[in-house]
Amino acid sequence: MINKVVPNVQEALVGVKDGMTLMLGGFGLCGIPENSIAELVKKRTKNLTCISNNAGVDNFGLGLLLQEKQIKKMISSYVGENDEFERQMLSGELEVDLIPQGSLAERCRAGGAGIPAFYTPAGYGTEVAEGKEVREFNGKPHILESALTADFAIVKAWKGDTAGNLIFKATAKNFNPTMAMAGTITVAEVEELVPAGQLNPNEIHTPGIFVQRIFQGERFEKKIEQLTIRKK
C-alpha cells in the first residue's frame, strides 16, 4: 500500500504557490474543502486561478479568498450568490470564465482520464462556442471542448483511508470525485480518516491512485446556504 497521509492542512498544501491553478470541489457550500480554503487565506497565496463550480458566498467558501483578492481568475458555471464576486467581475478586477456545468465536469474528468478533447452539444450557438470548433454528429452540431487540469485539486470527502481511497456522503459528492482525478497533486480533506482495510472496497467512490495527500480536517462548519424545512 502507498501511504498518502499528511499530518495536517499545512503539510497538505505545501507547494501551493502564487499564480497556480487550483480545482476546488463542492457545489454551493456543500462538500467544499473548508479547512484547505481557510489555510489558503492564511497562506496569502495570490494570483490564483480557481476552477470551482461556484464561488462561495460573501463570507464563506471561495468568497473568503475573493475578499482577500487572492483570486485572479475564476472558472465556474454559476456565481450568483456572491456580491463581492459580482463587483470584482463587473469592475474587471477579476477574470471570469463561465462554462456550462456539464462541460465543466466533463472537462475535469477528461483532464484526469487522459482525454485531451471531446465534443459536446452544450453551448452550441452561444457565447460559449465562440472560437471553438463546431462539428456535426448525427445531424446535430457539437463544439470541441478541451480537458482541464490543475496544479492542485483540493477535494473534501466524508471518509478516507490511509491509501487515499475516498467515500463521499449524499450530494456532498458533486464535483469532488471528478476533480480528484484531475490534479497534478490531489489533496483530500476528510471528516474521518481510517486505516487502509477499514473501508469496504465495493463502497469506495474515488480510488486512492487519484489522491496524493490526505488528512483529517480539524473542523467542518458545513454552512447551509438555503435552509428549507417543512412543519411536522
Binding site: 452550441y124 450557438g125 463521499f168 435552509l227 417543512r230
Partner: protein, 221 residues
C-alpha cells in the same frame, strides 16, 4: 385572471409523462414537484447529484450534505441515489432525462432561450442550463409573459446572450400556453382563466398563430 407562480407550476405539472425523469430548474420549475398528477410516476433529477429527491426536511432534520441544485436542504425518497457531477451530466447529455423545465428571461419564436446573462449588469452564469437545453428531448419554459417593465419576453429574436438555440418546445406563462412550431413561430394553445386572446397578443412581441377557438387552461388540483 393571470396565473400566479403556483398556477404556472400546476399547469406544467399536467405535462408530466408517466415513467419519465425530469429536471426542474430553480424558481417556478421547482414548484412543479408539488403538483404531480395522481397516477403519474416521475423521478426528479437534480444536477448537483441526486435522483429521487424528496420534500424539504422537518425542522432540525436538515443535512448540510443533502441539497438540491438550488442549494436548498432536501430529503431523499426510497430508491434515491447520489452521484458525482460528471455522471449527472452524462445522464443529461446522454438524454436519459426526458424533460427539462426551466425559467427564462427571453424565448424566441425559433425556440431560442436566454436566461443567464445581462451584459454589463448581471452575470450569474449558466449553471447546468446550457447542457440541459442542448440535450433534453422536451424543454418547457416556465416564466412570466412580460418583464417588470411590461415588455414581452416572447420575442421574434432574443436580445440577450443565448443559453441554447432552437430547443424550447413549449412555454407556460402567467397568461398562456404556447407551442414553438417546428417551422418557427409560436402557436397559442391555451389561455389562462379569464385572459383573452387579445391580451395575450398584446403581450406577445413574436408572431403568434391563433387557430380556432383557444380553450382556457383547466387547473384542477
Amino acid at each position: 385572471m393571470a396565473l400566479d407562480k403556483i398556477g404556472i407550476a400546476k399547469r406544467i405539472a399536467q405535462e408530466l409523462q408517466n415513467n419519465t425523469y425530469v429536471n426542474l430548474g430553480i424558481g417556478i420549475p421547482t414548484l412543479v414537484a408539488n403538483y404531480v398528477p395522481k397516477g403519474i410516476s416521475v423521478e426528479f433529477q437534480s444536477e448537483n447529484g441526486i435522483l429521487g429527491m424528496g420534500p424539504f426536511p422537518y425542522e432540525n432534520e436538515e443535512d448540510a450534505d443533502l441539497i438540491n441544485a438550488g442549494k436548498q436542504t432536501i430529503t431523499a425518497l426510497d430508491g434515491a441515489v447520489y452521484f458525482d457531477s460528471a455522471t449527472s451530466f452524462a445522464m443529461i447529455r446522454g438524454q436519459h432525462v426526458q424533460l427539462t423545465v426551466l425559467g427564462a428571461m427571453e424565448v424566441s419564436e425559433n425556440g431560442d432561450i436566454a436566461n443567464w446573462k445581462i451584459p454589463g449588469k448581471m452575470v450569474k452564469g449558466m449553471g447546468g442550463a446550457m447542457d440541459l437545453v442542448a440535450s433534453a428531448e422536451n424543454i418547457i419554459v416556465a416564466m412570466m409573459h412580460t418583464n417588470k417593465k411590461g415588455e414581452s419576453k416572447i420575442l421574434t429574436q432574443c436580445s440577450l446572450p443565448l443559453t441554447g438555440v432552437g430547443c424550447v418546445k413549449k412555454v407556460v406563462t402567467n397568461l398562456a400556453v404556447l407551442e414553438v412550431l417546428p417551422q418557427g413561430g409560436f402557436k397559442l394553445l391555451e389561455r389562462a382563466p379569464g385572459v383573452s386572446v387579445e391580451e395575450i397578443q398584446a403581450a406577445t412581441e413574436a408572431s403568434l398563430l391563433v387557430d380556432g377557438i383557444i380553450p382556457e387552461m383547466s387547473l384542477v388540483d
